[in-house]
Structures are given as structure tokens and as C-alpha cells.
């Protein structure tokens, strides 16, 4: 609902008009309609919205397995898109999203809102300007994936839920109340676990701080402990190591990892001259006081960001609107950046599933010398919910 409330605030300020709402669950749709009030037409099928010529932009906050298909369709319908993270659940989906955004000349912002948040910004400018010297390693700590300790049998879907449309591109399976609405997060085929959920935030911020958006090639090796039982299949504990070259540095996803800060998740930048901690991803939490107090050295480079709202959720959307208004169509977490971030997350999961190290060629967008692993870079969608 935060997207609804953000949009209501923009509407109150006269910056947008909420013309439509969409949900495949009539109960949730009714709640959204009651929050928004008159003026917004409710729909179950997003494609009705895409047909409307009076709609300029759409905000996609559906489960992860829908992100790519809806983004591509929206781009192909000429709409600007704000899509929640992670950008995609497969690498090939991410590629299709980038292609669709470029071909249709629309702005696509991925909801990794730390990149426009003050906490991450303080950290980014401090790291880039040498607060801890050269950074050779960045580590993440994050609490474990939950376990389905109360598995139950498949059943009929609840009243009001269009299960076929909720599943969308995923292979057909019967409804199970331990899957939907939010527990999709703990299945590899849809949510991909904490690494794809929070990793999408943390990795996005880390790449920004390290000025490493262009470092698209790396090796990845994951280990993890699967849950003992239940519907959810994401690893409970996990460790993933990414090695980048030129410049050389290592990114570690630790679940639980080595908890350095006080909060449930965060990152540590390990440099020649010390370390800098960023708790959460720099959104809900402020930056480390050292980073806030950091002054650029002579010759230092400032880091730009949109700064229109204190609330970082509002600010990230404002950044997207700004990219549309100004015509450059490249918001702070443009879909290319979102895709590269999601690629890190998705390859971490593939390495875990296959139990082997992968060498990722970012230029060719393929795993080196591993045809079977390359098949897992994409997954055909269930018709008609196709890219």
C-alpha cells in the first residue's frame, strides 16, 4: 500500500492523477479503491490499463515473477514504468526489459530506492572519495530465509482471488495458501529468497558506492542449506562469493553472514584504511556518522542524486518523474542497472541450485562453458503471460 499512499501524496500536490488501480485479488483491489477514492477505475487485468491512451505511466508492485512481463508489455504500450525490485527473476527477462525500455523510449525505474536515499548517498560519496582507502571487499550480513514449519495441502483458491492471473507466467500449479500472497518470496521460482529481495537493494547500493555498474563480468560461487521441510525451497542459510576484476574486489552475501552492525542486515566496506558500515541499505536508516560528517578531499568528486523529498520512497519516485520531465529517461536505477543488480542475485541462486561455481561473461551475457547452466538463465512463460 505504500505505493498507493505515495501516489496519493503526489496527487494531492497536483503532480499526478491516479487513473486506475489493478489487483487480481478483488479483496485487495477493493481496499485500494477505498483508499484512493473517486477517479480511479479498478481492474483485475492490467492489460485494460495498457490499452488506455490517457495513461502515461504505470507503477508495478506485483509479485516478482510478474515484473518482467508486465514491464515489457507496459513499455510496448508506450507507458513509463516504475517496477518494484528485483527487476526480474531470470537474466533473460532482465535483458528483455532493457530492450523494451530502449526500443519504446520510456523511462523504467526499478524500486531499489536506496540509490536516491540520503543514507546511501552519504556512504557512496565517502567510499568513492576514499574514506577507508581502496575497498577490496564488501560483505553483507542478512538474517536467514524463513522455513515453512506448517506445510499444508493444496486447496481451492480463496474467494475473490484469480489464481490463474496471480500465477501468470509461472508454470501451472494448484493453489496453496503457503504460497500466496506474500510467501511467494520464499520460493526460488518466484521470489528467490532474501538474496533476490534485499540483495536487490543491497547490491544496488554497493555497486553504486563502488562505482561498479560497468563491472558486469564476475565469478560467483554459492553454498546454502535447504530447509528441512515445507513448501518453501529457498536456502535457509546461504553464502555467495562474487569476484570482480579490474579493479579487483570481492562481494560476499552472508546469510546470516558476519553481523558487524546493530541492525538485522547491512553491508561493510573493507578498505586499506579501515571499514565503513552501512546498515540496512541506507534507506530507512541514516548513514554511519563518519560518512555523514565526511568532507570531500581537494579534487574529490561529488555524487549527484535527486533530492526533492526527505521520505526516500517519495524521493525515488520523484527521481523517476524527473527523468520523464527532463526527457533523458534514465532515472537513478534505470532498468539496465536494475537488470545488472538482479543478475547478481539470480546467478547466486543458480550457483546454489547447481552446486557449482559459475563464470559470468557480462559482455556476452552468458555463463562460460556451461550450457546447462545457461539454460537456467531463462524460463519460458505460461501463455498468454509471455514476454
Amino acid at each position: 500500500m505504500s505505493h498507493v499512499f505515495n501516489s496519493l501524496r503526489f496527487q494531492k500536490e497536483g503532480k499526478v492523477k491516479i487513473a486506475a488501480l489493478c489487483d487480481v485479488d478483488d479483496n485487495r483491489l477493493e481496499a485500494a479503491v477505498n483508499n484512493v477514492g473517486a477517479g480511479a477505475t479498478p481492474y483485475r487485468d492490467y492489460r485494460y490499463i495498457l490499452e488506455r491512451k490517457d495513461i502515461d505511466a504505470v507503477l508495478i508492485a506485483t509479485p516478482d515473477h510478474w515484473h518482467a512481463v508486465q514491464t515489457v508489455h507496459a513499455c510496448q504500450s508506450g507507458k513509463h514504468v516504475y517496477v518494484e525490485k528485483p527487476a526480474s527473476v531470470t537474466v533473460r527477462e532482465g535483458q528483455a526489459m532493457v530492450a523494451a525500455a530502449r526500443a519504446n523510449k520510456v523511462a523504467v525505474q526499478v524500486g531499489a530506492q536506496a540509490r536516491t536515499a540520503k543514507g546511501a548517498w552519504h556512504t557512496c560519496r565517502a567510499i568513492r572519495n576514499g574514506i577507508v582507502g581502496k575497498v577490496k571487499q564488501v560483505s553483507c550480513w542478512h538474517y536467514a530465509n524463513p522455513v515453512d514449519t506448517k506445510p499444508i495441502a493444496d486447496s481451492a483458491p480463496p474467494e475473490g482471488l484469480d489464481w490463474d492471473m496471480w500465477l501468470g507466467p509461472l508454470p501451472w500449479r494448484p493453489y496453496n495458501s503457503r504460497y500466496q500472497p506474500a510467501n511467494f518470496r520464499w520460493l526460488l521460482e518466484s521470489g528467490g529468497g532474501q538474496i533476490r529481495d534485499r540483495g536487490a537493494h543491497q547490491f544496488s547500493t554497493i555497486l553504486w558506492c563502488m562505482d561498479a555498474d560497468h563491472q558486469t563480468s564476475f565469478t560467483v560461487e554459492a553454498t546454502g542449506r535447504p530447509p528441512a521441510r515445507g513448501l518453501w525451497d529457498c536456502p535457509v542459510d546461504m553464502n555467495v562469493m562474487y569476484h570482480f576484476k579490474n579493479p579487483d574486489w570481492t562481494l560476499e552475501w552472508g546469510q546470516p553472514g558476519n553481523k558487524v552492525g546493530e541492525t538485522e542486515f547491512g553491508n561493510v566496506f573493507w578498505g586499506d584504511n579501515g571499514r565503513l558500515v552501512l546498515e540496512w541499505e541506507g534507506g530507512y536508516r541514516p548513514a554511519n556518522p563518519e560518512a555523514i560528517a565526511f568532507e570531500l578531499p581537494p579534487g574529490g568528486k561529488e555524487v549527484e542524486r535527486t533530492d526533492e523529498y526527505e521520505d526516500f520512497n517519495m524521493n525515488h519516485k520523484a527521481d523517476w518523474y524527473r527523468s520523464i520531465r527532463e526527457g533523458h529517461l534514465r532515472p537513478a536505477v534505470d532498468i539496465e542497472i536494475g537488470h545488472r543488480t538482479a543478475t547478481l542475485c539470480n546467478l547466486g541462486n543458480i550457483s546454489y541450485m547447481l552446486g557449482r561455481k559459475l563464470v559470468w561473461d557480462g559482455d556476452k551475457q552468458e555463463i562460460v562453458n556451461d550450457p546447462e547452466a545457461n539454460r537456467l538463465l531463462g524460463k519460458p512463460q505460461r501463455y498468454p503471460y509471455v514476454l
Partner: protein
Amino acid sequence: MSSDNQPISADLSEFIQSLRQAAEEPNPPPWLDVTRFGPEAVSPLAAMLAEPEIETGRNAKRALYHLVRHNSGPSVEPKRKAIQEQLVTLLEQPHACRDALWLLSEIGDDQAVDAIAKCLRKEKYREDARCALARIPGKKSIEALRAAMSNSPEDFRFALADVLRQLGEKISEYPTRKLVPTAQTTVEPIKS
């Protein structure tokens, strides 16, 4: 016993039995041990997919996926082929067909195409079969999808046409329906 009633080794039998026992955190699940076995485990695991206890079926399914994925790398080609042969036999078993199609989509080659193509004629599995053929590289799977265009029900031809176009084939009939809205809500707007 496996699903084709062949006798299995004592070691494999013991492993299969372990999948019927409840595992509790933080112990690792028993299916991880499947990597000790090869293609001989496919059939007995498939037989368990139909068992009434939910967690038993899930353990068996996870064991199958783990077995396939850990025998899919460049260095285990003979095992991959042998596992593929076993998976193809599962396509005739209703309780295992869907999983077999998706597993074959991950490791299958031309040898699996004909058997998968037969599933294009089964309404319950045709969509999964379509996806499996889309994922298996090579001309044979494309030919199988093309051949199915002429003998499939009208509504399924749109899906076949769509995947053939995604694979680079030129198909002028059956334009995509991906942007055609169909589902209606019962929720009414608030009138001003």
C-alpha cells in the same frame, strides 16, 4: 521397487525410506544425499511423487531436481544422458509427467524431443511440453513445435505460434494475444 517395478539396491532403498521420515531444522533435508546415486534413482523417486503424505512427495521431487541439476555440468555427460533416458519414461506417468517435462527442459537434448512432442497432444500437459521444447536448443525441437501447429486445437496454436516467433521463426498466422485483456473484476469504482 521403482515405478516400473524393477528391484532397487538396498542402499537406494534405504535412501528412499529416509525421504518418508520427517526432518526438522536445523538438520539438512534427507534428499540432499541423492547425489550418491545416478539414473537408477529416477524411477523410484518418481513413484513417490504420488504418495499421499505431502512432505514425502516434496522430498522426492526435491531429490529428483537435485539429482538432475548435480548431473548437468560439462563433466558428467554420460550420467546426464542416462538420467534423460529415465526422465523420458516418466512422461507416460500422469503423476510425474509435469515434473519430467520441466526437468527435461533443463537437461534434455534431441533424444527427448519426440517423447516431449507427444505431450503437446495432451491438454493437461501441452503447455508444459511447449515450454520444455522452447528451452531445448536445436532444430528438432523447433520442428516439433511447427509440426504441432497443424494438428493442435485452435486455441493452442496461438501459444505455439508465439513460442516459434520467440525462437526466431517467421509465423504470420495466429498473432500474439499477450496484450488482449480478458479478466474482469467485480469491484466497482467509487463514484464522485
